[in-house]
């Protein structure tokens, strides 16, 4: 079972991204479950979206305690509190202008920094980064495939469908290229 956590600030679209990611897994025939913190959630406060996906029906109804993947909408949120929910195998994607190396101090984690804002801007999406970050995340997880992810985004985005899809694909491509670069270098 995949257990994925998306951390953002209220209003950034972490919950929407969680739903879209669940839909993409569901479209690929997986059982899914997703829920987001609510109630006390206000614009700007940290919001967590949890996604489970599995070949088997998902029965457990509790918090994710060790994620297979983490997506962080804002590098200021990526701290030890959040990293407690990860281990060294967890795929961690963080939206940041900072170079990859600047996260080395956080510990022995597999952190991938993506400049989601840059990609969003380049695709006429302003500060709306969720589609770009989803592209980066599915690239890093290598699941679900980018076409399915883009199809879900196109279907569910309330506006700027093509721009959202383009941002998703560009981020996917950047991460895929970088990983291939790492592999060839390594």
């Amino acid at each position: 079972m995949r257990e994925i956590l998306i951390l953002g600030r209220g209003g950034q679209g972490a919950q929407t991204a969680g739903n879209q990611l669940a839909q993409a897994f569901f479209a690929k025939g997986q059982y899914v479950q997703t829920f987001a913190t609510y109630g006390g959630a206000r614009r700007g406060t940290p919001v967590t979206s949890s996604i489970r996906a599995d070949d088997q029906p998902i029965r457990q109804r509790n918090n994710i305690s060790c994620a297979t993947a983490l997506l962080c909408f804002d590098d200021s949120l990526l701290d030890q509190n959040f990293l407690k929910l990860a281990n060294k195998d967890t795929v961690i994607v963080v939206n940041s202008k900072q170079p990859q190396a600047s996260f080395a101090g956080l510990g022995d984690y597999n952190i991938l920094a993506v400049d989601g804002k840059d990609i969003a801007r380049r695709n006429n999406m302003g500060k709306v980064v969720n589609s770009a970050l989803l592209g980066a995340l599915v690239a890093a997880m290598q699941n679900p495939d980018i076409d399915t992810m883009c199809a879900v985004i196109e279907q569910s985005a309330p506006a700027k469908k093509q721009e959202n899809v383009a941002a998703c694909r560009e981020a996917f491509q950047r991460v895929t290229d970088a990983e291939q670069g790492n592999q060839s270098n390594g």
């Binding site: 669940a22 690929k28 025939g29 479950q33 987001a36 109630g39 998902i58 457990q60 109804r61």
Partner: protein, 389 residues
């Protein structure tokens, strides 16, 4: 990979939207609704369905939950099918009228999203809101997941209308109300077969010249409670047959209780609501480790199926109640209820009452496995024990 390819008509719905879809299929005449977190998505979805022309129900948004229940009672007394939904503070505001609805024998179906009552303020899963209404005369059912919530709300109308008792269906805030999962929405014809249009017996009608619930003498009031007792005595069987018939139509059967891998179990967890799912994971994990664990899920809490509970726990060495609720000064409500149900039973299990998940704190499968190991051979205390991760 395509695990779901054989399933038809699955939709991704959160628990509350699943409830709304169930209500739509049950097609009540009238639904007074007042919004409250985390129930509001039920209200929103019903209004959206009505706006889209997919729901014929007359919706009313009165000024409080008290008025919502008052109008539900009045409408139900006129002989029509009535639905309402609420949570926590809203349910507690209705308290006075919950007694009234049951006493007036109005077969209202209400969905309650279990949430911590203030104070302090919170929005988290905890069942004390509805458990504290256990003496009002409402039938109470607890649902584990969005699919069961949809299925149960439909069955609830059949139970309510057959027993002429109001039915409250509950699911946990957050883990069910706001969790999106694949849900099969049955066809309208399936539901129509299962739940024909409501034909009321005695009801309010200006042409009939009778009124409801006027003052009476002591003996008649006493008699009214005996009549409610007789009605409650039918609810267990009605729940079983409704769950069975539903299973015949949809492949998903339900009963007052559910036993999961309890055969030959040394330790059986007893709980209600969303935690049952996590316990299933733990039971599988324990069994894989060679520990004979099982789950006894209580779906029908009022009337409490005492005979079935005694049967299910006879000769089980150890039972552990996981209560996601706390009655101050006593402990977990399910623990207390179970102690009473098993009273004077020769082959009763050692019964542990663990306060797990009160206020919505996380209870993981790993924690449950650890509790099994810790308590299965321990001497049972009559007092509750607070446990945490």
């Amino acid at each position: 990979m395509n695990a779901l390819s054989s399933n038809k008509d699955l939709q991704l719905l959160n628990g509350n939207h699943a409830v709304a879809m169930g209500v739509k299929l049950a097609n009540p005449h009238f639904a007074p609704l007042y919004p409250i977190t985390p129930q509001t998505p039920i209200l929103e979805k019903l209004i959206a369905l009505q706006s889209a022309g997919e729901l014929e129900t007359e919706l009313l948004t009165p000024e409080s939950e008290h008025s919502a229940m008052a109008s539900a009672i009045a409408a139900s007394a006129t002989g029509v099918r009535v639905f309402t939904a609420t949570s926590s503070q809203g349910l507690l505001l209705m308290h006075e009228l919950l007694h009234f609805a049951a006493g007036a024998r109005t077969p209202i179906v209400m969905f309650n999203v279990n949430r911590t009552p203030a104070s302090p303020w919170g929005f988290w899963p905890d069942q004390i809101d509805s458990l504290s209404q256990r003496d009002t005369g409402w039938v109470q059912l607890y649902s584990e997941n969005p699919q069961e919530s949809l299925d149960t709300v439909i069955q609830a109308f059949r139970i309510a209308e057959a027993a002429q008792m109001p039915v409250m269906v509950n699911h946990d805030a957050f883990y069910v109300s706001h969790a999106v999962e694949p849900v099969e929405v049955p066809a309208q014809e399936t539901v129509d077969t299962f739940l024909p249009a409501y034909k009321a017996g005695l009801h309010l009608d200006p042409e009939l010249g009778r009124s409801l619930g006027a003052p009476i003498d002591q003996k008649s009031w006493n008699e009214s409670r005996q009549q409610m007792a007789a009605a409650m005595a039918t609810v267990g069987d009605l729940t079983a047959s409704a769950g069975q018939d539903w299973g015949d139509l949809t492949g998903r059967s339900y009963g007052p209780l559910e036993q999961y891998r309890t055969d030959g179990a040394d330790v059986v967890f007893v709980t209600m609501g969303s935690m049952c799912g996590t316990v299933r994971e733990a039971v599988d994990g324990l069994r894989a480790r060679g520990i004979a664990a099982g789950l006894l899920k209580i779906r029908l809490f009022r009337p409490l199926p005492q005979v079935e509970l005694r049967k299910a726990l006879a000769d089980v060495p150890c039972a552990i109640v996981l209560d996601r609720n706390y009655s101050p000064g006593v402990g977990g409500v399910v623990h207390q209820e179970l102690k009473a149900a098993l009273f004077d039973m020769a082959n009763a299990p050692r019964l542990h009452g663990l306060l797990a998940g009160v206020g919505g704190v996380n209870v993981s499968a790993e924690m449950i496995e650890r509790l099994a190991v810790e308590y299965r051979d321990a001497v049972a205390s009559p007092d509750p024990v607070w446990v945490e991760e």
